[in-house]
């Protein structure tokens, strides 16, 4: 699968062929940094002054790299496809190799960052449990009622929430049984066939 670059995107990246390779390397480092931690426009001005170009050109160059990296990581394009995709930019071989290395080195991390953006439900984080025997309550004295108190920690984006729940021994067994069936299903022929074929 090849990456289709828009004319505007090509024009923005074109700036990279006007500067030295170490500068492109630095731009690449900044682009990855921005993807991880968010962008910081002040850096554009500093770099522009040093290179004696407009800060807009620097911004376009860096943002063009960011877009190139996210799109290729998103599609998980292969090494060969990446090389073929950037060929249309008409860069030197050295520059192309530099971009490829930048892509390969950061692909995994960029995919991780992107996957956090995907819509998702609260996620399981941890489960703590406690065994109690209830002996009496306001409504009823002289009880012997075993209970299992569970604290379920869920993660929703950066937020953590804990739910305190309770259950009885019989239901606990039932829950284990049911969830083990869910785990076993993943090893069934049906699931294995689909997992094997969708690649």
């Amino acid at each position: 699968m090849l990456l289709v670059l828009s004319e505007e995107h090509k024009e923005h990246l074109g700036f990279l062929s006007e500067v030295d390779a170490p500068v492109v390397g630095e731009f690449g480092r900044i682009a990855v940094e921005f993807l991880k931690k968010g962008s910081n426009p002040k850096i554009f001005e500093g770099a522009a002054r040093k290179l004696n170009v407009s800060s807009e050109s620097v911004q376009h160059g860096v943002e063009g790299l960011m877009y190139l990296l996210t799109e290729s990581s998103k599609l998980m394009i292969s090494e060969v496809d990446f090389q073929d995709s950037v060929l249309v930019l008409g860069f030197s071989e050295e520059l192309n190799e530099l971009l490829l290395q930048l892509y390969l080195e950061n692909r995994k991390e960029i995919r991780q960052i992107l996957s956090k953006l995907a819509p998702s439900l609260p996620h399981y984080h941890n489960l703590e449990w406690r065994l109690d025997v209830q002996l009496a309550s306001r409504a009823l004295r002289q009880q012997v009622k075993p209970t299992v108190t569970l604290k379920l920690h869920l993660e929703d984006g950066a937020k953590r929430r804990a739910h305190v729940l309770q259950t009885d021994p019989a239901t606990l067994q039932h829950l284990i049984h049911e969830l083990e069936r869910a785990l076993a299903e993943l090893k069934s022929n049906h699931c294995r066939r689909i997992l094997r074929n969708i690649k």
Binding site: K74, L121, S137, P169, A182, L195
Partner: protein, 192 residues
């Protein structure tokens, strides 16, 4: 058992043969126990067999009888405690026996009723699950990861709700492993 003035008075009225003959007493007690036991039990008020008794008296006696029943279940009162209490409010032996027989009959279900009227965290009753294979989303393609959606059904004070969350296979294994630890400890505790 400690009983309030009003409950004592109500029980005393119940003991009086010229207000409640034995037949009315038996019917009254059946209705009183049933009203606690099932939500669709009949009411003593307007009951065809109890129409000859003053409604205000009936209401007072009903409150007294149900309070006495619940207090007895709550304290796990034995036969001698109940008998001596009822004899104090001048119940004749026959009525004490009638009461105690019904009490024994309903005790188990009233106990579970009282044990469920409890403030406690939501009680998990069941778990539902769904297995999915994520292929791609708007931000990342070729995700190709299986994931589970778990829904824990919970109940609290008669109202049910659910907790939904997703997890990977490893996380589900972690969850089940921890539940198994709890179940094992429970088993060990039951044996010792």
């Amino acid at each position: 058992m400690e009983l309030s003035e009003s409950v004592m008075k109500g029980l005393q009225t119940l003991a009086e043969p010229n207000v409640f003959d034995l037949k009315s007493f038996t019917i009254f007690m059946d209705v009183a126990f049933d009203s606690l036991d099932s939500s669709r039990g009949e009411s003593v008020l307007g009951h065809p067999e109890l129409r000859h008794i003053d409604q205000t008296t009936l209401k007072h006696c009903h409150t007294a009888a149900t309070t006495f029943i619940l207090e007895g279940v709550k304290q796990n009162a034995d036969k001698s405690t109940i008998s001596s209490c009822l004899e104090d409010v001048r119940f004749q032996n026959e009525r004490v026996d009638t009461f105690y027989n019904s009490f024994q009959k309903h005790k188990k279900s009233l106990e579970s009723l009282l044990s469920s009227t409890d403030t406690c965290p939501p009680h998990i009753t069941d778990a539902e699950w769904r297995l999915e294979y994520c292929i791609k989303n708007s931000h990342v393609h070729k995700v190709n990861q299986p994931s589970y959606l778990i829904s824990l059904n919970t109940e609290r004070a008669g109202a049910s709700s659910e907790i939904n969350f997703s997890c990977t296979m490893d996380q589900l294994q972690d969850l089940v492993g921890k539940m198994k630890d709890a179940a094992k400890s429970l088993e060990r505790a039951a044996q010792s």
